[in-house]
């Protein structure tokens, strides 16, 4: 199967899972289960940055529209992640001359690098998401608890999906 077709199918599956999570899996108002950051880090590394930004914005907007999200919230957070996913990748994975199209799957690198990389990505994502989802109307302590909880829960979720769907040779 061609690489782009396989990637498209995986993206469609992840978006479908995300919509199911949004509409049918409730872990309370503090936790938002989110797979969009995973989709963004698996965008091609050799792709022009502005195209990655537009794709990320589109992915976020699709999730906002198809689920009960506030329109623009996922789109804005996803765009921010798309801006930084490449500059963060190289130092975290310590690969300055990396020439492959996508970030290495877990089996090729190790889970430690993946976990660290995804933690940073999730932190950036939820920084935007929680800030614009009502920081002014929530105490800083509650926002901080929400921030840390979301990173922890979503890291586990994202690693599971990463290992299951993206861990190809």
């Amino acid at each position: 199967m061609p690489d782009y077709l396989r990637q498209t199918i995986i993206y469609a599956v992840v978006i479908f899972i995300q919509i199911i999570l949004n509409n049918y899996v409730n872990l309370g108002p503090m936790i938002y289960l989110c797979l969009i950051p995973l989709l963004i880090v698996y965008l091609p590394l050799d792709q022009k940055n502005y195209i990655s930004l537009i794709i990320a914005f589109g992915l976020g907007l699709i999730i906002d529209i198809l689920s009960d999200g506030v329109l623009g919230l996922n789109a804005g957070a996803a765009t921010l992640v798309a801006l930084v996913y490449k500059p963060i990748f190289y130092p975290v994975f310590q690969k300055n001359n990396y020439s492959k199209k996508y970030i290495p799957p877990i089996r090729e690198s190790d889970i430690g690098h993946h976990a660290l990389y995804l933690t940073i990505i999730l932190a950036i994502y939820f920084l935007f998401y929680i800030a614009f989802d009502g920081l002014a109307k929530t105490t800083l302590v509650v926002s901080l608890i929400r921030f840390v909880t979301n990173i922890a829960v979503n890291l586990a979720l994202v690693l599971i999906v990463d290992f299951t769907l993206f861990n190809r040779s």
Binding site: G60, V70, L83, G134
Partner: protein, 273 residues
């Protein structure tokens, strides 16, 4: 050439990033729940079809709890009836005396209680006399405000929504303040801006004040669990709600009679200030 190309790409990236972020933030700010309802009305009407069926299955397994709640409400209503009968017997109330509020019973088709911006969809719409800005309550909770209405359904901005405030008071002391959801779960709220002179204490009951025309007065909402002085100016009180909004199934949509007249009077008075 490479340098120029790189600079061009960098500028393009920054430009696209700023443009997309501005679009996102404008959407977040401008996207009131009402606008969103209008935009997604088509999608919602299809979703409602499936929600009604899935709720039917869920209702079947929760019948015991619903029956218990209905029994308790019936008991309270019987008490009210006895009071009214007493008043009628003594000619304080006649058959021609209109009630102060119009009550429309409704059931919840869709409830999103686990988000920061929650809403509900009820099975009553314009055909049933529902209008925007009507309050939604139960016998022991405030549920929200009708935000938009279609022919057969209405969209309710839940009280468990960061944008919602309700005027409430402490029974007994009469001190009132603004009640808002605390954003953590379905059973916690905060009564803020209570005067510092208030002697309200933990365990006191909080009920609707009736100062806004949306909710009828004297609906018990919850009990005070903690009292804090804020900046030496006000008191904030944590309130444990009697009814967890997540477990609701049946509600009442209420509208004060002569609401238009009250609104018109307010406008006229403001115009003369």
């Amino acid at each position: 050439m490479d340098y120029r190309s790189n600079s061009y790409n960098l500028l393009l990236t920054i430009g696209v990033f700023i443009a997309l972020e501005v679009i996102s933030i404008v959407m977040i700010v401008q996207n009131s729940v009402l606008q969103r309802y209008i935009i997604l009305n088509g999608i919602r009407s299809t979703q409602v079809f499936f929600w009604e069926r899935s709720e039917g299955i869920r209702d079947f397994f929760n019948l015991r709890a619903y029956n218990q709640a209905l029994l308790e409400e019936n008991a309270q209503l019987r008490g009210k009836m006895a009071q009214l009968q007493y008043l009628e017997d003594y000619k304080y109330v006649t058959e021609e005396t209109p009630g102060l509020y119009k009550w429309i019973p409704a059931s919840i088709i869709k409830n999103t209680p686990n988000k920061q911006h929650n809403y509900l969809i009820l099975n009553r719409g314009a055909k049933d006399g529902v209008e925007t800005e009507m309050g939604v309550v139960t016998h022991n909770s405030i549920v929200g405000v009708v935000g938009a209405v279609s022919d057969n359904y209405c969209y309710v901005i839940s009280f468990a929504n960061k944008s919602q405030r309700a005027s409430a008071m402490v029974s007994g002391t009469g001190d009132f303040g603004l009640l808002s959801w605390d954003g953590t779960d379905g059973s916690g709220a905060t009564l803020s801006h209570v005067p510092l002179s208030s002697v309200a204490a933990v365990g006191d009951t909080v009920c609707t004040s009736g100062y806004s025309t949306i909710y009828p007065p004297d609906i018990p909402i919850g009990t005070i669990t903690d009292v804090d002085a804020v900046s030496g100016m006000y008191k904030d009180m944590k309130v444990a709600l009697f009814q967890d909004i997540r477990s609701l199934k049946y509600v009442y949509i209420v509208q004060r009679h002569h609401q238009d007249e009250i609104d018109e009077l307010s406008k006229t008075a403001k115009g003369k200030e």
